[in-house]
C-alpha cells in the first residue's frame, strides 16, 4: 500500500515564475492538506481540500491556490514566486474527519528553491 507521494522531489524556480506541485494521497484517503515548512521552522498550514473544494485556509495570500481531482490527488500552485516562498512543501492525506479526528499522513515533501 503506497503512502502519500509527492512530485517533484526538488524544484528550482526564479522570482516571478509559477510552480505546480503534485500530491497523491494514501490509498483510501479523501482529504488532502498542504503545509509550508520554511527553513528552521515548523510546518504551517496552507489549505485543505475535500470533495474537490477548498474548505479551510491558513494565512497565505491568494498567490497560493490548489486543486483536487476526482481521484483525490491534489495540486498546489504558487504564482508570482518570491524568494520567501523557498521552503519544503508537505502534503498530508487523511479521511474526512466527520465527528472524530482522523490522523494526517505526510508525504516526503517537495523542496522548492526560488532564486
Amino acid at each position: 500500500d503506497a503512502g502519500v507521494t509527492q512530485s517533484p522531489t526538488h524544484l528550482i524556480k526564479t522570482r516571478g515564475q509559477q510552480v505546480t506541485l503534485r500530491c497523491s494521497p494514501k490509498s483510501g484517503h479523501d482529504t488532502v492538506s498542504w503545509y509550508q515548512q520554511a527553513l528552521g521552522q515548523g510546518p504551517q498550514f496552507i489549505f485543505q481540500y475535500y470533495e474537490e473544494e477548498e474548505r479551510q485556509r491558513g494565512n497565505f495570500p491568494d498567490r497560493f491556490s490548489g486543486h483536487q481531482f476526482p481521484n483525490y490527488s491534489s495540486e498546489l500552485n504558487v504564482n508570482a514566486l518570491l524568494l520567501g516562498d523557498s521552503a519544503l512543501y508537505l502534503c498530508a492525506s487523511s479521511l474526512s474527519a466527520g465527528r472524530s479526528y482522523n490522523e494526517q499522513f505526510f508525504g516526503p515533501g517537495t523542496r522548492l528553491t526560488v532564486l
Binding site: 528552521g40 515548523g42 479526528y101
Partner: protein, 116 residues
C-alpha cells in the same frame, strides 16, 4: 488562538542518556496532540499521538509522552537515547472544526543532537 510552544530550540544529550523534550499548547477544547520526527531532508514521521484516555502514551522507537491538562503540556521522553535519534522533533496540536475538517498547528521544533 491555538498555538504550540517548544521552548528548547536545540538540545544535546549523550548517547544512552535520558531525554525529555518540552511542549506546551494553547487550545480551548480537548486537544489532539502529536509528536513528529523529521530527519534532514525528509518528511514527517509520526512518533505518537494522544486523543483521549490514558495520559501516558507509548510510541514508536521507544518514545513516550505524557499529557498534563493542568499544565497544558505534552512532553516527549525516552529513557535511553541512541545516536540515530538525532533529528528535529515537532509537537503539534490538531483541531477539529464543524464541517469535518481538521488541521495541524506545529511548534517551531527542537533539534536534537546526540554525542557518542
Amino acid at each position: 488562538a491555538q498555538s504550540v510552544t517548544q521552548p528548547d530550540i536545540h538540545i544535546t544529550v549523550s548517547e544512552g542518556a535520558s531525554l525529555e523534550l518540552r511542549c506546551n499548547y494553547s487550545y480551548g477544547a480537548t486537544p489532539y496532540l502529536f509528536w513528529y520526527v523529521q530527519s534532514p531532508g525528509q518528511g514527517l514521521q509520526l512518533l505518537l499521538k494522544y486523543f483521549s484516555g490514558d495520559t501516558l502514551v507509548q510510541g514508536i522507537k521507544g518514545f513516550e509522552a505524557e499529557f498534563k491538562r493542568s499544565q497544558s503540556s505534552f512532553n516527549l521522553r525516552k529513557p535511553s537515547v541512541h545516536w540515530s535519534d538525532a533529528a528535529e522533533y515537532f509537537c503539534a496540536v490538531g483541531s477539529l472544526f464543524s464541517g469535518g475538517y481538521n488541521k495541524l498547528i506545529f511548534g517551531a521544533g527542537t533539534r536534537l543532537a546526540v554525542h557518542p
